[in-house]
């Protein structure tokens, strides 16, 4: 038994943390968020080429390092802690979809470009009325011979305004209640309109994507429920990212509580503050355990992911939003300012929590799956 990240994985974490602290501090993440791209392409180039992050979990034959999912989970904890605005998460989700559902030809085409960082590929699945992007979709696919065209409107597409390739979920126009499939759409395809959205989360650029008879290629022929399984996997991975953000909040709040003097004593000596910090750690500790278990299960390919994915997502969402809320409160007036970084975590916390469905939606899925 060794229910922990390995020594090598922890060393990898340390070096990545050093890299992000040095190359992508929050000041630079803020500055990049105001550019058209929304992230710093030079830092992303280093993350791709020097650190090989986007290809970690991609097979060696496709230009990756062939690790399991634990290394990406470590990356997400660290990019979550640093509020990285890079397209790492977008590429990870897209590549996992391609690995699981893509035809050999599409895998050979897309995975090497993701692994090298040459192409940004992202999922365009979510609709306003479909938070998971797999059910109740309004986006339709029409087939004529070999040609498929898509029509619909997607929201919250990560890096959608700048991505080279999009993976769009849609249902057949002739069978709108059937299972959704994913389709590959090129960024410069006809009938594609992409607009960066004014987002709650400033450190993760998202776009609205409108498809109007846009040509597309089916990613593969998914088994029933395959997209839902992908969502469970994404939930597990998002939980890891949220654990990193939760820990960053706690670190910020505790540092301030030790330093800030009122009534001639550090405010962290008051139980009103101390106990809230303790509750943040309690929440973080539980969320970390759940996220760690979830990525272990995902890495092992166990069916248990169908319960543990939503469970971990809900736990991590509550921990992160709780920690972000209370970090602002511990910091007091300064925590409510634009200048201070607490609101960046608050924004990420609530955005991540809502992504793919909030805690109530996750627990509803969990309830279905534990046979309640």
């Amino acid at each position: 038994m060794d229910f922990a990240f390995s020594k090598d994985q922890e060393e990898f974490r340390s070096s990545l943390r050093r890299f992000l602290t040095e190359k992508a501090p929050l000041s630079s993440v803020r500055a990049a968020s105001e550019t058209d791209l929304g992230y710093d392409p030079l830092v992303w180039k280093q993350m791709s080429e020097q650190l090989g992050l986007p290809g970690l979990h991609i097979a060696e034959e496709h230009g990756g390092s062939g690790t399991g999912l634990l290394e990406p989970a470590v990356v997400l904890e660290e990019t979550g802690r640093a509020l990285s605005s890079s397209p790492y998460l977008a590429g990870l989700f897209a590549s996992l979809a391609i690995q699981r559902l893509g035809s050999p030809e599409l895998q050979a085409d897309l995975l090497p470009r993701i692994a090298s960082g040459e192409a940004v590929v992202t999922l365009a699945t979510i609709e306003v009325a479909s938070p998971t992007g797999t059910r109740g979709l309004a986006t339709t696919a029409v087939s004529r011979g070999d040609q498929v065209t898509l029509t619909g409107r997607k929201t919250l597409v990560e890096h959608g305004h700048s991505a080279d390739v999009l993976l769009v979920s849609a249902v057949g126009a002739d069978a709108p209640t059937g299972d959704a499939r994913l389709y590959v759409v090129q960024g410069d395809a006809a009938g594609l309109t992409r607009t960066r959205q004014h987002a709650l989360d400033l450190t993760r650029p998202v776009a609205e994507v409108v498809l109007d008879g846009t040509p597309a290629v089916a990613l593969g022929d998914p088994a029933p429920g395959a997209l839902d399984e992908l969502v469970d996997l994404f939930c597990a991975l998002l939980a890891s990212e949220m654990v990193g953000g939760t820990e960053a909040c706690l670190t910020m709040a505790v540092a301030y509580a030790k330093d800030r003097m009122q009534f001639n004593r550090p405010i962290g000596s008051f139980q009103a503050i101390k106990h809230k910090c303790a509750e943040m750690l309690i929440a973080l500790d539980g969320a970390r355990a759940a996220a760690q278990y979830a990525v272990m299960v995902a890495d092992g390919g166990s069916a248990e992911l169908s319960t543990v994915g939503p469970l971990a997502k809900a736990e991590a969402s509550e921990a992160f939003t709780f920690a972000a809320n209370w970090t602002i409160q511990v910091l007091g007036g300064i925590g409510f300012t634009w200048e201070q970084d607490a609101h960046l975590y608050f924004r990420r916390a609530w955005a991540d929590s809502g992504l793919l469905g909030g805690p109530a939606a996750q627990r509803a899925r969990l309830a279905d799956r534990i046979g309640l």
Binding site: M1, S6, I282, L311, L372
Partner: protein, 418 residues
């Protein structure tokens, strides 16, 4: 990342399963299925069986009557006993074996180990814990019970309270003030005291659920021999804290198993009333499932640390907060599920419980109301939720302590003499 148990632990699991299969009565579901008057009799005979098979203190060294195994085997045993609904010992064993015995093994003299450990295991001695006092609860180091040497005996005067299972005990370990001129943590001695003497009086306290499970213990010129000290004279705070470490023990690794069974009962309760269809109840039940799973994952992390040479530390405070607050939350949900049935509860009573009903108890409204009432105690005893948050804040997060108003000699503090 790997959560499989080591082969020797799995081999031990097979032994435990075989033992339970051979020794539990056929069709056993738990003590709760027995009539109350039969329970004590079963407990006693079962305890003798456990002692004979070295199943009471598996992690104690063999020379003191243990099985010489590790904490992991202790966890495996707890898991299998919980699954089978089998008691792990008598009510006093938590104090005698879990707390005092482990403390003696680490801090006792050779004579103390040889004298006490076999008697604790055989059941000849039943122990209880003399820590809290009416004016020393969360501030445990503020105890006033005094011990003064008179020749080769300590003479003890004062009062302990909240002494669980004290009415069943014949020995008590006592924190006593032996140097009032020292600072409050520095003048305390950990004493072993026989209760079968005129100077010791036990009076039961009835808890809010109506059961007499804990007691007041009064000392009036009670006596114990001068050598009955664990750790040094005036160094009892260190002993008390070491014992606290054993009290925490490996609980984190088994919390999930204890709660899983009761959560299954809760789901059954909701299902019988058609409420698993209600989205609000479904979400809360899914939340309960999540909390118990988080206990399981955290338990695996603790167990993994133990296996890799770690010891339970202040992170046990997190476990304590999680389980005790969960115990209140899920029993409150039970009250909501029961609706009017909770307000005039019927069916089998628990017979008194510390955390949850004995396995095999009928899934009755009354059993839930009693569990619900009893859950209020969990966030108070063994370090209240507020004290745990202080420990988490100060020891795990490094936040500064409150300014102290109790430095200096104990006897100069307000209220030190009552």
């Amino acid at each position: 990342m790997d959560i499989t148990y080591p082969p020797e632990a799995e081999a031990f699991r097979e032994r435990v399963r075989a033992f339970l299969g051979e020794n539990l009565p056929a069709g056993w579901t738990g003590l709760g299925a027995l009539a109350e008057e039969e329970r004590e009799q079963f407990r006693e005979s079962w305890r003798r069986t456990l002692a004979e098979h070295q199943m009471l203190a598996v992690s104690w060294p063999k020379e003191y009557g243990g099985a010489g195994l590790s904490l992991v085997e202790q966890v495996v045993l707890a898991e299998e006993f919980a699954r089978a609904g089998a008691p792990q010992g008598s009510e006093n064993d938590g104090f005698g074996i879990g707390m005092l015995g482990n403390t003696l093994i680490h801090l006792g003299t050779e004579e103390q180990k040889k004298h006490y450990l076999p008697r604790i295991l055989s059941g000849e001695q039943r122990w209880c814990q003399g820590y809290s006092e009416p004016d020393a609860g969360s501030d445990l180091a503020g105890i006033r019970t005094s011990a003064v040497l008179d020749g080769d005996e300590w003479v003890i005067n004062g009062q302990k309270t909240w002494t669980s299972s004290g009415h069943l005990a014949d020995h008590i370990f006592v924190l006593a003030r032996t140097d009032p001129s020292a600072a409050k943590h520095k003048g305390i001695t950990f004493l072993l005291v026989p209760m079968d003497q005129p100077g010791v009086e036990v009076r039961p306290i009835v808890n809010m659920a109506g059961y007499a499970l804990f007691n007041e213990v009064f000392f009036t010129d009670a006596r114990t021999a001068s050598h009955e000290v664990v750790g040094g004279v005036n160094d009892g705070w260190r002993t008390a804290m070491a014992l606290l470490g054993f009290e925490r023990g490996v609980g984190a690794t088994t919390d999930a198993i204890r709660f899983r069974g009761d959560l299954d009962r809760l789901v059954a309760l909701a299902r019988e009333r058609g409420l698993t269809e209600d989205p609000r109840i479904r979400e809360r039940l899914a939340w309960c499932h999540s909390r118990v799973e988080v206990m399981r994952y955290r338990g695996l992390i603790s167990l993994s640390r133990l296996l890799n040479g770690g010891r339970p530390g202040p992170e046990a405070s997190i476990s304590k907060v999680i389980w005790s607050e969960f115990a209140q939350a899920y029993t409150e949900l039970a009250i909501e599920i029961l609706g009017p049935e909770a307000l005039a509860p019927t069916g089998q009573a628990t017979g008194g419980l510390l955390q949850m009903p004995e396995a095999g108890t009928e899934n009755s409204p009354l059993s839930w109301v009693e569990t619900f009432m009893s859950a209020r105690a969990g966030t108070i005893y063994a370090g209240s939720s507020q004290i745990q948050r202080n420990i988490i804040g100060e020891q795990l997060l490094g936040l500064p302590k409150e300014p102290r108003l109790d430095a200096g000699p104990f006897r100069d503090l307000a209220g030190s003499r009552g």
